[in-house]
């Protein structure tokens, strides 16, 4: 992550001195896309908050104080208190851990298994690939929530079972995206050229296919991350995800639902947190994709 760098305006739009060289001259350092900076900043702040919650929160996020129920925002309780008198801000900080963990683990499982599977199926003989992918479509049609509920029933409800179930249910999505990307790359002339140069199938998959589908996979990962966070929220509401009293943004949102008429701020805080996390990861995904594609980078730099 790039850290808190100053935003250099709409990146690269203003002609920089020394840019009058003929197009295509390799510059020592290329400008960063704005989406990458904003996304990285958002994600980094969530990570910092989650880490900070291990050592410091304004109040004990689990402490029930009957006398302080449903307070509005104040100097002491920045975002107010919930109906058990627990500090909403502290719970948000603590909930960032759950959200990050669920998103990263679920997308990690799905991406690390689904992507190689898709590349493999794209590289194998057409018939085998088609058969496996039809089976994949079958799994794709199977609802993630149902799988998570089944996992919960078998292994007990917890954050762990929820994120593993969400991850497994997302594998087919990555397999699909990776396979279609692989088929496209394999039909390209540069793969034919690589084969004519004596590259083996495995080497082509690693050196040519993976880098060229990384953009697709990264965007899919950022979308899946958002879906995983929302799925965890839904599962927690149903009682199959994070168990009380551990806070998660999804749980907080659902608990605030019945109070939305009297205390709207209770729902706004976790809702906003989820929205910012999703936005952050989406921007980060977009930015990374642009950053990794030298063609897009050059267009920005020279036009």
């Amino acid at each position: 992550m790039s850290g808190p760098q100053p935003l250099s305006g709409p990146s690269g739009q203003v002609p920089v001195p020394g840019e009058d060289a003929p197009p295509g001259i390799t510059r020592s350092r290329r400008s960063l896309p704005a989406s990458l900076l904003v996304g990285a900043t958002l994600v980094a702040s969530i990570v910092v908050v989650a880490l900070l919650s291990f050592v410091w929160t304004p109040h004990d996020p689990l402490l029930v104080q009957g006398a302080q129920r449903l307070q509005g925002p104040s100097g002491e309780f920045w975002f107010g208190t919930d109906r058990f008198g627990r500090d909403v801000f502290s719970r948000l900080m603590y909930g960032a851990r759950t959200t990050l963990l669920v998103g990263v683990v679920a997308v990690g499982i799905a991406g690390l298994i689904g992507t190689p599977l898709g590349v493999l199926m794209g590289s194998s003989p057409r018939v085998l690939g088609e058969v496996v992918m039809r089976f994949n479509d079958l799994l794709l049609a199977f609802p993630a929530l149902l799988l998570a509920v089944m996992f919960g029933a078998v292994y007990g409800s917890s954050t762990l079972t929820a994120m593993v179930a969400i991850g497994i249910a997302t594998i087919p999505v990555f397999a699909r995206v990776a396979r279609s990307g692989t088929l496209q790359v394999l039909s390209s002339d540069y793969v034919l050229a690589a084969r004519s140069a004596g590259r083996t199938k495995l080497a082509i998959a690693v050196r040519h296919v993976l880098p060229n589908i990384s953009g697709l996979v990264i965007v899919q990962a950022s979308v899946s991350f958002a879906i995983a966070v929302l799925a965890e929220a839904a599962l927690s509401f149903l009682g199959f995800g994070t168990q009380p009293p551990t806070p998660s943004w999804g749980r907080m949102l659902q608990e605030a639902q019945e109070l939305v008429a009297v205390r709207p701020a209770q729902a706004v805080a976790p809702g906003l947190a989820i929205a910012l996390a999703v936005l952050g990861f989406n921007l980060l995904g977009d930015g990374l994709r642009d950053r990794l594609d030298p063609r897009l980078d050059d267009r920005r730099g020279t036009e």
């Binding site: 197009p23 295509g24 001259i25 390799t26 003989p125 057409r126 390209s188 002339d189 540069y190 034919l192 050229a193 690589a194 084969r195 004519s196 140069a197 004596g198 590259r199 083996t200 199938k201 080497a203 050196r207 040519h208 880098p211 060229n212 990794l292 594609d293 030298p294 063609r295 050059d298």
Partner: protein, 336 residues
């Protein structure tokens, strides 16, 4: 290196061909796309394969390289000097070891034949490293820069660090040539290497190809539909139509005294001075039929001015393998 040992065993003996293609046939399902294509290629020899689109030129190249798309099957034999096994029956692993080392290929479309995400110097270096012809990474980088300099790219050190999209079509095609020649192949196949380039760039590219194969005494199979281009590069020509070789011969003779009516048609169509009384350029009537829909017997008979009942049977080859024709009524020979 085995290629060196081989070259030493046959010191540029022109009688030992580097590539022998016998009765090469390519089929998909029920259709035959290429039939009984036979030719050989001597060391340092430059052979042109000409014909219009759909005649099977590229298919011949892909079959020799073992890069036919899934669903196409090849028959016949393809022998590379010093390799015991027929290339069509060799394992994929062994074949990968030959491609890029003993067989090199330049493709038609330079805009898409390079990986857009890799610096071109790296792509050239990779070809060297795949086959272990360099000691280490630095050696590969140095050799890659030398190869880029050999194809007359200005400032090869800087070019090596560029991505394909930062180069022009001509520059990319030179990079492709550098890659194909990197390991000093015995056979270089160029599939319409200049078709996508400007005319001014074409001539330079042709010179580089000719110089490249001469330096390495590689056999060149040059595929094109462009007669003037082929005539400047090749010593010997093969005319392909409907998946069959219809005429073969030394360039000069074939272009001055064509015997097959198709070759005559091709020549007439490329002669920009010859126009009919309405000022139109002569054309060959009709068009190449879609894959596998060529007539039985002589494949050209439905477009041929001399076609008759005899042509419903394939005429067979008359003359030597490298100088002959497949026609019932060839020009310059007594009829009947």
């Amino acid at each position: 290196m085995s290629a060196d040992a081989l070259a030493a065993a046959h010191p540029q003996d022109p009688s030992v061909s580097v590539l022998e293609v016998r009765d090469l046939t390519v089929a998909t399902g029920g259709h035959t796309l290429l039939e009984d294509v036979t030719f050989s290629l001597g060391p340092g020899e430059r052979v042109g394969l000409i014909g219009e689109s759909g005649s099977g030129k590229s298919l011949t190249a892909l079959a020799v390289m073992g890069l036919l798309p899934e669903g196409l099957t090849a028959g016949g034999t393809v022998q590379l000097r010093g390799v015991e096994t027929d290339l069509l029956r060799i394992g994929e692993r062994e074949r990968s070891g030959l491609r890029g080392r003993r067989l090199g290929m330049v493709f038609q479309e330079p805009m898409t034949a390079l990986n857009p995400l890799m610096r071109v110097g790296h792509q050239v270096a990779e070809v060297l490293r795949i086959h272990g012809t360099v000691d280490d990474r630095e050696d590969a980088t140095r050799r890659a820069q030398q190869l880029l300099a050999d194809v007359e790219l200005p400032d090869p050190v800087r070019i090596a660090r560029r991505y394909p999209h930062q180069l022009s079509g001509g520059q990319r095609q030179r990079v492709m040539l550098a890659m194909a020649l990197a390991n000093g192949p015995d056979v270089l196949i160029c599939d319409e290497p200049t078709t996508a380039l400007d005319v001014t760039v074409q001539a330079q590219m042709l010179q580089l190809i000719a110089a490249g194969v001469a330096d390495r005494t590689s056999g060149l199979l040059f595929i094109s539909h462009d007669l003037p281009v082929v005539a400047t590069v090749c010593e010997r020509l093969l005319v392909l139509y409907g998946g069959r070789i219809v005429e073969a011969g030394p360039t000069h003779q074939l272009l001055t005294r064509p015997r097959h009516p198709y070759t005559e048609g091709l020549l007439a169509a490329s002669d920009l001075e010859a126009v009919d009384d309405q000022g139109r350029l002569p054309t060959i009537p009709g068009a190449v039929p879609p894959d596998g829909r060529f007539p039985s017997g002589c494949v050209f008979r439905n477009r041929c001015p001399r076609g008759d009942e005899a042509c419903t049977v394939w005429p067979g080859w008359t003359g030597r393998e490298d100088h002959g024709v497949a026609c019932w009524y060839p020009s310059g020979a007594p009829h009947g």
